[in-house]
Each structure stands twice: as C-alpha cells, then as structure tokens.
Amino acid sequence: MTERTYKVYSITNGTVIDHIPTPLALKVVRILGLGQEGILTIGMGFTSKRLPGGKDIVKIENRVLSRSETDMIALIAPEATINIIKDGAVLEKRRISLPEGVTGILRCPNPNCATQQLGARPDFRLVDPVGPVYRCRFCERATKVDADLLMHATRD
C-alpha cells in the first residue's frame, strides 16, 4: 500500500505531510492556509500501522514549509510527520512540536472576548501540552484546542 501511495503521488520538490489521522487532511490544509497557490495533492484513508483509523497525506508541490508553519499542524495532528523533498529525494525529515504562540489560526470560543466583539486578532499562548490547552491573550480564558476552533484560512 505504502509503495503505491508514493508512486501515485510522488513529487519532485516540495513538502509531504504524512501520518495525518483520517479524516483531518482538509483541516491541515486549512491550518496552513493552503489552496490558493501551487499544486496540492490530498490522499485520504490509507492504511497505516501507526494509525489504526487510517492516515491522510498532503503533498504541496514546489513549496518548502517553514518549521513555524508545520508546527501549527501539531494543534490538531501531533502524529503527523513532515518530509521536505528536493530533486526527488528526501532532504529533511521533520518532527513537529506544539507552537508556543498561535496568532490568527484559532478562534476564541468565548463570545464576550475582544476577538469576537472588538475585532482583536486572536492570539494564544500554550499553557498545557496535554489537550493541548492554550490561553487567549485577550479574555485570558484557557481553551482546549479542537479542530472546530480553526478559523477559515487567512494567511497574513
């Protein structure tokens, strides 16, 4: 199976995000704010030894994601692994870790927060890697991150 996936979707240059638990691939794409540029290949529901529920793969052609970008994936899929591909070979294998700060990707669930009422840009700090739990810099409430808190993609 693994053999086939790489044959079908292999890229020459770019970033491969592997071991995304099914069905989170589209949410990973949203976290990264991808979709406007370049060729994006998404495969869903591959069998995986590590992930009994199946895995998704996202391949981004001709773009090398930075560590701060790929760390954002850890918010919803800490199991994901990153391969940076150059000239058809793996240039870098990367593990991801939770970002200390998250700006503009998560929304604060508190309806009375300045981010919801006064147009403040959401900004969170990590308080507990278990969860993970982040604290809103404005209303100061701690929130357990889940995929429903992702904002619609805006990269700025």
Binding site: A114, G119, C136, E140
Partner: protein
Amino acid sequence: MGSFKGRHIISLRDMSVDDLGTIVEATARVKSGGAADMLRGSTVAVMFFEPSTRTRLSFESAILQSGGRVFGFASPGASSQSKGESFADTIRTVTGYCDAMVIRHPVEGAARLASELATVPVINAGDGANQHPTQTFLDLFTMEEEFGRLDGLKIGMMGDLKYGRTVHSLAMAMAHFGARMTFISPPNLRMPDSAKAELLARGIGFTEVQQPEEAGVDLDVLYITRIQKERFGDPQEYESVAHCYRLTCETVRALGGSVRIMHPLPRVDEIAEEVDTLPNAIYFRQAHNGVPTRQALLGLVTGGLE
C-alpha cells in the same frame, strides 16, 4: 524594582511579586502624604464603556487629589461609540488627548486591545468577567496595612467563587505570597477547575468547604463577595444560591474572633449590618484605600511617582 513609567496595567498575570510589592509600598507612601501633587500637569482620560459609579469616582478622586486633570465619560451612551465609531478608533483618538487612560469595558480583553493601540499607559478598570487589577492592589494594600506583611496569611474566600473575578485575581495574587487559602461556597459556585489548577501548578494548596464555620478558628482574613445576579445565565440557578450566606457577629465569634472581614462592596445581604461596628470589619477602610492605591498607580505609570 522595575520601572513602571509608561507601563500598561491590564492583568494580574502580567504582575510579578516585585511589581505587587512596588505598588503596595507606593500606596503606603501616598496614603501617609509623602507624594502630593504627583499628577500636576497630567491629564487622565477616564472612559467607562459600562457604568460603574464607585470605581469611576474612586479613579476621579485619585486624579484630582494628586493635582491632575480628568475628562471622559461615564456610560457608553455618552461616548461617540453610540454614533458608530469603533472602539479602536476611539482609543486611537483619545490617546492623543491625555497622559494616561483608565478604561472600563464589558468585553473581556478590551483593555488589552486598547493597550496595543494607545501611545499612553492604559489602566484596566474592569473588562467583563476577566480582570479588575486595581481592586486586587487595594486588597493587598489593605492586608499589608492590617498585618504589616503579606507573606503566609491564612485567607478564606466566601461567596460566588465561580463567576467572581475579584476572588480569582486575589487568589492569583496571594499565591505569590504563599497564602493558605480556604474556599467557602455552595457546591455549584466553587472555584473553577482552571483557577484551582493554576494554584496547584504554583505549589499552592487549598481547602474547600461549604460553610464559614468549617474554615477553622485561625483565619487572618475572611474575604466575602456578593453573588451577582448578572453573572448567571439561568435565573433559577441564581435564586437557588442568592441568599445562602449572611455573616453575623455570631459567625465572627465562631471564626475565633480576630478574623478581619473584607468585602469589595457593594454588599447586598451577605454581611449583617451589626458586623459593621466590630473592629473586625475593615471593608469600608478597604474601599477608601482604593483612592491612594489608584493615586499611586497613576503616579507610577505617568512617572510622577518614582
């Protein structure tokens, strides 16, 4: 001791133990008359996007007593926001008219946002259910004045511990000083798990009980808060706990007789008036300490007080 000049005062989370010590010490200097006229030549904007007469008057009195000038508004209807101007634009405009800003707003995080837009120091006078740091500073000063120290006090907090931001901030501040805390509340108004987790993470233990008599006879302070109707979504939940506590002289005796009673005021019926005349009752002095505390803070952030 860090300099306060130019600094925003938004949240207890931004304050170190040294910062709290600086504020308490500066308040003592102001109260003893050692810092007259420190706001001479300064203009302070006091903007209340929700009404709170006591807090506003306390700030205005502090500014005037320090020789400063004050302008602003007392309710949102009096601001240009009612004409549709955004909060951000109001802040960007007013920052050019003053040397410091005091802001009260019903939205949580409003003061933090203002501090990012203003070019003068911003003092948070309450942002929704989140923070009201000057209340905590005056509470600390009152305890220091009463006991000559803040370290290792035994403090009971009673009332609405679930929604009461005053007790959350106070617990966070007292954690800096190794306080021993007892939380007294009905089961459905207990201190939230997140607040308790923060205390435990800082090595501060606590006890939870339902009645003041269970708090033992060696409390230094019993801090009582009002159960606020507006914090409850469900009127039935409010009614079920509304009048559950009423501190009397008998309760004070049951607590060992030397406990000091504090309350952020206004009270409803949680302290019987007979308690007012006991030497234990220090809540009116506590309220009066709001003025020197706010004088000291404004002096520190404007640079008028070193």
